[in-house]
Each structure stands twice: as structure tokens, then as C-alpha cells.
């Protein structure tokens, strides 16, 4: 029969296999490698300590992404300055490797998006999740996921094309639109 010890090992091994993808998710969510590493470390520690919450049969990657997101949200809510904490302070292009293979526009564009929107883009375009799975990870509806993708895609398309001067909807959703108090303090 299936033994708890063996399952524990499988669970742990599964997380190790997922590490690069989990690290990418944490980095993109926070927008910084060092903070992403720290978040992932805390999340992994929690997952291993509370693995009884994992329901067998659930895809481990979806579950682990959701755990990281939940922890990030929990810590964000407890933070004295949650809005400042959520902002990408450093260049998003530092996450890229090799940097020269990615255009100049996209990293900057991604860095300006709110974390939730970046995460939705990553889950659907980076991980290949369908909208429903992405919604489960981000604890939001399928419509919310679709809405985030549409705003971001349309906005980047505007920026790449002729409509680049038009204020994009993604900018409106950005935490720090140009001219805001936070923007001026930077």
C-alpha cells in the first residue's frame, strides 16, 4: 500500500523538480530576483511543513503556484506599505536571460504592470495554463483573468503599433500611473 513516507518523498521531489518554474513565478510576482528568492524560500518552507493541505490528485504545480501567491498576498496585506511593497523597484529586465534576446519594450512594459496582471500573463503565456487554472491559482474568476490578459495584450499591441500614443488601459490599471504622488517621489 501507499506509505506516508513515500508520499512525503514524492511531494518533496515534485517541488524540487518544479523549482525553476516556481522561482520564475515568485520573481515575476515580486519583480525582483532577491525578494523572489526569499518569498519562494518562505513558501517552500510552509508547503513542506503543511503538506497535509495538499490534496493528492491535484496537479502539484497549480497547487504550489497558488501557495506562493497566497503567501505573497498575505504578507502584502500585513505590510505597512503594501502599495510600495508591490511596486517593481528595479528594472524588470534584470530577470531576463540572456537580456539581448528580448526586445526593449516588453520588459519595461511588464515592469509597469500590477503584480496580479503580470502573474496572469505568466501563467497563461509562460506556463500555458488555461484561463480556469490561472484563475484558480490567482483566486479570481475566469473573466478576471481574461480581462487582465486583454488589457495587457491590447496595451502592448498599442505600444508596438500605431496606437502607441493612445493611453492604454494597462496604464490605467498600473499602480503608479504617471503623475501620481508615488511616481513623483521616485
Amino acid at each position: 500500500m501507499i506509505e506516508v513516507g513515500q508520499n512525503h518523498d514524492s511531494f518533496r521531489q515534485g517541488l524540487v523538480i518544479l523549482l525553476p518554474r516556481l522561482k520564475r513565478f515568485a520573481d515575476v510576482l515580486i519583480g525582483d530576483k532577491q525578494d523572489g528568492t526569499a518569498l519562494l524560500g518562505r513558501a517552500l518552507k510552509r508547503m513542506l511543513a503543511e503538506q497535509y493541505r495538499y490534496q493528492r490528485g491535484t496537479p502539484l504545480d497549480r497547487w504550489a503556484f497558488a501557495e506562493i501567491y497566497r503567501l505573497w498576498l498575505h504578507e502584502l496585506r500585513d505590510h505597512a506599505e503594501p502599495m510600495r511593497q508591490a511596486k517593481v523597484e528595479t528594472g524588470f529586465d534584470l530577470l531576463l536571460y540572456p537580456e539581448e534576446l528580448v526586445d526593449d519594450v516588453t520588459p519595461d512594459f511588464l515592469g509597469q504592470l500590477p503584480p496580479q496582471q503580470r502573474s496572469a500573463l505568466l501563467l497563461v503565456y509562460g506556463e500555458g495554463f488555461d484561463y480556469e487554472d490561472a484563475g484558480r491559482v490567482l483566486d479570481c474568476s475566469v473573466d478576471a483573468v481574461a480581462s487582465r490578459l486583454i488589457r495587457a495584450s491590447a496595451s502592448l499591441a498599442d505600444r508596438l503599433g500605431e496606437g502607441w500614443q493612445v493611453a492604454s488601459s494597462a496604464t490605467v490599471e498600473t499602480l503608479y500611473p504617471k503623475g501620481s504622488q508615488h511616481d513623483r517621489t521616485q
Binding site: I2, T37, R56, L160
Partner: protein, 319 residues
């Protein structure tokens, strides 16, 4: 000019529309240059997002080289040092090495800056045969079984052929009670060893596969997941089995238990022996008669094929 919202066009680019809607959009695209340009721009945006996320994953793969060993702990943040960001890697590796607690080296992976061949589901860990098989299993679809021209639905024939290569104790279970019909069996190869693949299909859902590989181990069933594929693996009687499918754990574990406890096929009894012919103790105890010739009496007493008796002695079990 036709009015199509970005909402619809993004759904089209993402492949989220129904077939009829997709056709309708494509029809418009042929007629409306403005909409076609917008779709091109959205596709370009989609492509750039994908490239950016792939570049980030390439960075993670290039950075994470993890060795967790109880005696030697080394860190090789190759790209991180080159990029002047070693601290994050060292912290990550230290945390994960401690958390993972592996007793054997785990290396994530030999990294090269190849960004177009990045795995979506797994990192390049040293893989077991179960992992490799799970990857192969994920390539199977219902149609790959339904259109087969050379399907072998005969359980006895499949069992006979596979047992020749894998071992006489091979089980080719009857899963009709589970609603799974045997579709075909085939002999694959894994690192020079014969690997049997026996495929079943229910009235709905994904195919279910039973893999068999010669082994000298004995182990109890263990469930694990690789991507969307659930697996139950165990070893018995010189053969390692892996039951794999895109199915839930409960179903797979129950099916594996059924297979484990399924007796080997009974062979139709020969005509009643004459009074003077004593019955051998083996057949008397088991109630099963072997169709194998005398020379193979050391092999298991039951042929895997009750209908097609081998004409030559069964090969010895592989090492």
C-alpha cells in the same frame, strides 16, 4: 469596417474561441485589413510575452544549480556570478538544500543558454524510467489508439508476445470490470531493456497504460504525479510495473490493486488424466495446469497465453 472588440480578438489569438467563432473571425480577417493588422499586433504582443517569460525561465535554469549532499555541499551559481547577482542564488540554494534534505546529489540542470528548448513541465533532473514513461504517456491521445490499423486487441496474443521478451510472470490483466478495454500491446525499449506497453481505453477519458520492465526488485505500490499524468508503480515477480493515465489517484490505485491481486490466467484443463496418471503436487495445490513443456518446469507454472502455447521453452528472466 467590421467592428470586432479586442476582447474577441485576444480570445482568438489565444485560441480560446469555439470553432465556429474562430471561422467567423478568420472570415472577417480576409476581408478587413484593419482588423487583420490588429490581430497581427496582438499576435506580436502575445509572442513577446512568451519570449520574455522564456528568457526569465532560462535565467532561472541557468542560475539554479543545486547540490545537496550530506557530506559535500557545493554551490555553482554559474550565471549568477557572471551577472553579478550571486547572493540570491546562494540564498536559494542554501534554503532549498536544507529544505529538500536529499541524501543524493540533485543537480538542476547542466545549463546552457538555449532558450528555445525549455521544458514546460519539468527541470532536467536525472530521471527514473517512470518519469520518462510518464512523459511518453502524455503524448498519447484517444485518437492515437482509435485509428490504429494494426491494433492487437487479443489479450492472449499480447500477453504471449510480451512475455517472451519481458518474462513469463508478466501480467496482462483483464480490466473489463473496470470499464477498460484492451486496445493493444507493444514492445518498446528502455535503456536496452524490453519495455512492454499495454494500452487500455474506456468509453471516455484518456488512455490507460500499463508498462512492464524486467527488474530484480520488489516494492509496494506508490502513487506519484508527473504533470497531469498520475502513476502507480510497483515491482513483483521480477517485473516492475507502472500504471499511468491522466486519471485521479483513487482510480489508479484501485486499478493497480486489481492488477496485483489478479491471478495469472488459468489455462483450460486438459482432458481428465487416466487413473494411473498421478497429478503433480504443484498443479494439485494451485488448481492450475501449465501448458509449458517439461523443460520449463522451473519457470512459473502458468503460461501467459492460454490459447497459444509456446513451442519452445520460455527464455530465462532478464537480469
Amino acid at each position: 469596417m467590421t467592428e470586432l472588440s479586442d476582447e474577441l480578438l485576444v480570445a482568438y489569438v489565444d485560441g480560446q474561441l469555439a470553432r465556429a467563432q474562430t471561422k467567423a473571425v478568420e472570415k472577417v480577417l480576409k476581408q478587413d485589413e484593419v482588423i487583420a493588422r490588429r490581430v497581427d499586433a496582438l499576435k506580436e504582443a502575445h509572442s513577446r510575452f512568451e519570449n520574455a517569460f522564456e528568457a526569465i525561465l532560462a535565467g532561472e535554469l541557468n542560475e539554479i544549480t543545486l547540490r545537496a549532499d550530506p557530506y559535500v555541499r557545493t554551490t555553482e551559481p554559474v550565471a549568477a556570478q557572471a551577472k553579478g547577482k550571486p547572493i540570491a542564488s546562494v540564498v536559494l540554494i542554501a534554503i532549498l538544500a536544507a529544505l529538500a534534505g536529499y541524501a543524493v546529489p540533485v543537480v538542476l540542470p547542466e545549463l546552457t543558454p538555449v532558450r528555445y528548448v525549455l521544458p514546460k513541465q519539468t527541470a532536467r533532473l536525472p530521471s527514473s524510467w517512470q518519469d520518462d514513461v510518464a512523459r511518453m504517456q502524455s503524448l498519447l491521445t484517444r485518437s492515437s489508439l482509435e485509428v490504429g490499423l494494426t491494433s492487437q486487441g487479443n489479450r492472449d496474443l499480447v500477453g504471449f508476445e510480451l512475455a517472451q521478451a519481458i518474462g513469463p510472470s508478466l501480467k496482462v490483466p483483464n480490466l473489463d470490470p473496470q470499464g477498460l478495454k484492451l486496445i493493444r500491446g507493444q514492445l518498446l525499449q528502455y535503456r536496452g531493456k524490453p519495455l512492454g506497453q499495454i494500452l487500455y481505453l474506456g468509453t471516455r477519458g484518456a488512455p490507460v497504460a500499463l508498462y512492464a520492465l524486467p527488474s530484480d526488485r520488489t516494492s509496494e505500490p506508490e502513487f506519484s504525479m508527473a504533470g497531469d499524468v498520475g502513476m502507480v508503480s510497483w515491482s513483483e515477480d521480477g517485473i516492475s510495473y507502472l500504471l499511468a493515465a491522466q486519471a485521479d489517484e483513487d482510480f489508479l490505485v484501485r486499478t493497480a490493486e486489481k492488477i496485483r491481486h489478479e491471478p495469472l490466467d488459468e489455462i483450460p484443463l486438459p482432458p481428465p488424466p487416466s487413473v494411473s496418471q498421478p497429478t503433480t503436487p504443484t498443479t494439485a495445490e494451485s488448481g492450475v495446469t501449465s501448458a509449458l513443456p517439461e523443460s520449463s518446469s522451473n519457470a512459473p507454472t502458468v503460461s501467459p497465453s492460454p490459447l497459444i502455447a509456446p513451442t519452445s521453452p520460455a527464455p530465462p528472466p532478464p537480469n
